[in-house]
Symmetry: C2
Subunit: 350 residues, 2 copies
Amino acid sequence: MRTIEWDARSSELRLIDQRMLPEELKIASLSEPRQAAEAIRDMMVRGAPAIGITGAFGLALAAIHSKARTTKELRIDLEEAASLLREARPTAVNLGWALDQVMDEIDWEESSCDKLRIAVLSSAQKLADEDVATNRRMAENGAVLIDDGDTILHHCNTGALAAVDWGTALGVIRTAHEQGKRIHVLVDETRPRLQGSRLTAWELQQYHIPYHIISDNAAGFFLQSGKVNKVLFGGDRVAANGDVVNKIGTYMLALAAHDNAVPVYAVVPTSSIDLSLASGELVPIEERDPNEVLSLKVEGRATAPREATALNPAFDITPYRLLTAIVTENGIVYPPFLENLGKAVNGNLK
Amino acid sequence: MRTIEWDARSSELRLIDQRMLPEELKIASLSEPRQAAEAIRDMMVRGAPAIGITGAFGLALAAIHSKARTTKELRIDLEEAASLLREARPTAVNLGWALDQVMDEIDWEESSCDKLRIAVLSSAQKLADEDVATNRRMAENGAVLIDDGDTILHHCNTGALAAVDWGTALGVIRTAHEQGKRIHVLVDETRPRLQGSRLTAWELQQYHIPYHIISDNAAGFFLQSGKVNKVLFGGDRVAANGDVVNKIGTYMLALAAHDNAVPVYAVVPTSSIDLSLASGELVPIEERDPNEVLSLKVEGRATAPREATALNPAFDITPYRLLTAIVTENGIVYPPFLENLGKAVNGNLK
């Protein structure tokens, strides 16, 4: 199944509740846009592409379940839902992008509410289908970079769970694996939410790709010791200069790879590229609940003093100088990024 | 109290069981060298100076509780205990150093077993007292580098818990705090054993020094954003060229500090400096139990698939080029380290 699916019979959105993995594969059914916003905020669903599509389907929920009798009333409901959804995760560009895609396609001159409802749902469906196709193209493009026998260090989760299906960086690994290349993945835990050990390890298990989990701290050691051939991750937002805003920890990982001359690839759909943004440091970084850091237990014991406080930024900025290339559905973008990212967005990469 | 104390009444070694912190301050009493070796291996006690002194007192336990009737028999018992203790943690140089200090001082020509027993205990006691004095001198030397208002990023635990008392890098912070300098500490968790959030946070709480816990991944973000004035950590072994072998994650932290022109200080006693070692990559790196990585729980749920495996190196190597200076009890060592570390060891720093 897909990570995100519209259930036509019940007119509900069905999502894998990723907070329950790897212990339990639980499917949540959402019927209100408010629930979709909560699913994004609480990270029931996460990953740049996935939260974009969840946002789009959130609008579909608003359209289908709205009690509006006129298109004017429906418009009010949809705009309210869009603003609610937009605020759920401020840093990811895909969320706003997907909401805009759906909202911009609506023909407000249409007089039939029901036709509008169906049009919104179709837009969301189309985005979801396009996301899968985009992921497949990114994976095909990126798999060219992977060699037989590679050990790949991977950050966070960028697999099917991070998208509608297939995934971005993990999609590349999956395609290379299906091409018969032997791959070993070092999965970093990705504190504080542990998307690496919880989600990426679980996915690799399903795909029968060999892996080991490592602490985030251990990445430098493995890069130092010459045991890593490539570093792969996704991206929540890419600036015009190639700076990649991604899950916290990406910057140090890229730095350590660069220090050891190991190639670093970000794998992102062009919808994550924000050409209006000159550089990464202009992106507001989401600050999340300190309890994500403080609530760990080992053998039933707390791992921080009761009185402790924490700071919990969700993203950092990997400067473009640390990247070997950025893989998109329109091709592999090499430096100079300032020149070539625009071409990738417009589909003009040679 | 001290982290490690000899109880003269019961002839036992009393240690804070650091695995129980921060939830519980539990004191363990050890009466056999085997228990001391286990305490080191299982990280009931950890930190380069602390395990050295625990090793020395492990020899005292062997001497005091040995049933030997001749010095020859006692020698066999002591040498057996020394080799047992030496194997408990292979990477830390202090352990071997402390064992050698005690063993080398023994006068095997002495005919009285009881005199030998007392001599071994006295040697261990002397090392413990010297460790506290050394820590105090390191702290005084290092505190000069700390400015009023500094935010200091700190890795692992290097406080009183890592030594007999006072500590190394955290000792510097503590002394600067006692000098009236206002300091804010960013405590990284230090996965996989969480010595930062479990132990350093607990110590800072006792000393009333303000701090926030951050995930190890977040260090790069705070360094990028210009909010960190200094990075401090300890060291398990320092090579002649200044490479520092320290808790896993130190390398990436130093790299990120260096990339943002934030000064990086290792604080180590000269007993951790191994001039016979040309560079850090020659040190064998201890590989620990994968369950240290895999056994986390969040809200009662497993954070890795049941079938998952992990790799768990305990240390990495921070190349000397990333260090601003190395603080010792004999003074602050600046580059060129190859020249100046020898002077520090011999007490000839100008």
